[in-house]
Amino acid sequence: MSDPDRVLSASEASFHIGSARLVENASLDVSVGEVVAVLGPNGAGKSTLLRMMAGELAPASGRIVIAGRDLAHLKASDLARLRAVVAQASTLAFPFTVREVVRLGVSVPGLTRESARVERAVGDAIARVGLSAFSGRLFTELSGGERQRAHIARALCQLTVARAIGGGGQVLLLDEPTSSLDIGHQRIVLEALRSEANAGTAILMVMHDLNLAAAFADRVAIMSHGRIIADGTPRRAMTSEILSRAYGCALSVDRPPAEGIPFVLPAVV
């Protein structure tokens, strides 16, 4: 807890629904400028851990600290100045335009809505995810991937504006941000996220694509049955032994010598 770089950390956090232990004693830190990917099979507790660290679910035991403050004591509005969240699937009841959706990220209390600076931040965020040509489109008419990028732009905009008013915008949490994107748009989004990390934002994201995570994340946390069973750089944590245990099937990990980035394939029987 003493390390000032650790801007988001869970210590011994658990979450139960009835007798189901969705997350059990999870401890995980994310530091300034670091990208941490949470990996694991379906139902391992990845999204639940993310939602706890976003403040959406209160841990049954353990605690979450964000920017040195206990998350349990933060109001929703204070929290929104410190972190932005991109949830998994998101629908919209009525047709906002893309620009209006992204502008919702700015409507954090205490921020002016209409100033030119805000409009520039909105436009920049839309450009960063490659949606400039769509900013006037109705959200309800977009494809799944375009909606996902609009939400990422909304979160980026929230961070930018929170930083502009001082002291905020330090953490970004994303639940499978690249799952419905084609490879070109994956690149655009990951580039935007990397530049966000380079600007100092701590990023925690749930990912399904092991190879994308291996190539992109600074650190991975691998979950299985609600527990974090490995936490480290992709090279160290993503071994065939650990991954096979987590996913419950035989996986082989190749290490091309040049970069040393692990490359995961299902082991062919």
Partner: protein, 366 residues
């Protein structure tokens, strides 16, 4: 790196740039037109009626309040000040409250068909009000007499908040509300309230029966300053709450979890929205009985023109709703003069076809 992504290189050519709707201008025009429509209808409502006294009698009538005047001016003053003005104010308040209540419920339930009359909130408020009317003749007479013009609005508020709260519980926490479940629950609650009102009507005598029936059809006949005083607090409570609800209602359109991510205290805001909705339905029902469709037509028209941003939706709906109800009331007053059609019937005759049109046009949406 402010990654200026090579958008052109990645996007395929069929992604043609679409002209961004100029929402700021649309909003301005819409608010201006709504305000003008409201002003026009206020003047028409004041100048039209069975007595043939028109608006140009107003200056003389106002003069008659302060000094001796001839009988004609006194009569004009009586008609304008004591009959038409309260009725006009009530019509405007009822229309504004119903339209805003519809807009808020559609936002809260994330559902385009939510309307206080369709999903039973008006019926719940009406049942409570009818109960008070009948109790006022029997054992609860002292309490009802003591509360005076406030008895009906307070009862309607309690009825309305009970139904809205029940619907929120039924709709459940994080799941998006299924239209079928919501409408079915609302229909059942509405039917139950109607049945209980039927029971009360069955037990009442002929005169009470006619009063109750006309009242549940919706009417502004018998408007008075006392009624205005009873209803105004609830209408004002609602209007004062609106600015605080704009951000929450916008955020809730993304979903409850997303609203929380944006910094909205979701549970608290949901409670406030329920209170504001119940207050506006209570004001409308206590003043005019059950009037349907306003809450569904007006917000939809506004959304079609200016989009779903509640910063525009709520004030524009309030003004257009008021204008619509004033127009309906004027028609109700003059079409079978000197008798009156029930207001609810007039609004339903206009509203039902428009509603059907919206449902069919927006089929994919529902």
């Amino acid at each position: 790196m402010t990654a200026k992504p090579a958008a052109g290189a990645v996007l395929s050519p069929e992604h043609v740039r679409v002209a961004e709707p100029d929402r700021a201008r649309q909003r301005f025009v819409l608010l201006l037109v709504s305000g003008a429509a409201l002003l026009l209808m206020l003047l028409i409502s004041l100048s039209v009626g069975a007595t043939g006294i028109s608006l140009d009698a107003l200056p003389a009538a106002l003069g008659a309040l302060f000094r001796d005047a001839d009988d004609a001016s006194r009569r004009a003053a009586l008609v304008l000040i004591d009959i038409r003005l309260p009725r006009t104010i009530l019509a405007a308040l009822v229309g504004a409250c119903l339209a805003v209540a519809g807009a808020m419920m559609q936002g809260l339930f994330r559902n385009p068909l939510a309307d206080p009359a369709l999903i039973g909130v008006s019926s719940g408020a009406a049942l409570a009000a009818v109960t008070v009317i009948v109790m006022g003749h029997s054992f609860a007479a002292p309490v009802v007499a003591w509360m005076g013009p406030h008895a009906l609005p307070v009862a309607a508020f309690i009825g309305g908040i009970t139904v809205t709260g029940t619907l929120v519980l039924l709709a459940g926490g994080r799941r998006a509300v299924s239209i079928a479940a919501l409408l079915l629950a609302g229909l059942v609650i509405g039917a139950l309230a109607q049945a209980l009102m039927g029971l009360i009507a069955y037990l009442s005598d002929d005169r009470e029966l006619r009063d109750l029936t006309l009242w549940t059809l919706g009417s502004l006949a018998g408007s008075s300053w006392a009624k205005v005083m009873g209803v105004a607090p609830f209408a004002l409570l609602n209007l004062l709450l609106l600015p605080a609800l704009v951000r929450a209602l916008n955020g809730l359109l993304l979903g409850e979890a997303e609203a929380f991510h944006l910094g909205i205290d979701v549970e608290r805001m949901k409670r406030l929205i329920i209170v504001a909705t119940a207050a506006s339905v209570a004001a409308a029902v206590a003043a005019a009985g059950i009037v349907g469709f306003v809450g569904i037509i007006v917000p939809h028209v506004v959304r079609l023109v200016a989009g779903p941003d509640h910063a525009t939706l709520l004030p524009a709906s309030a003004m257009l709703g008021a204008a619509l109800l004033l127009a309906a009331d004027v028609i109700a007053r003059i079409i079978v003069a000197p008798a009156e059609l029930p207001l609810g019937i007039v609004v339903a005759l206009i509203g039902a076809p428009v509603f059907l049109h919206l449902v069919l046009r927006r089929g994919a949406y529902v």
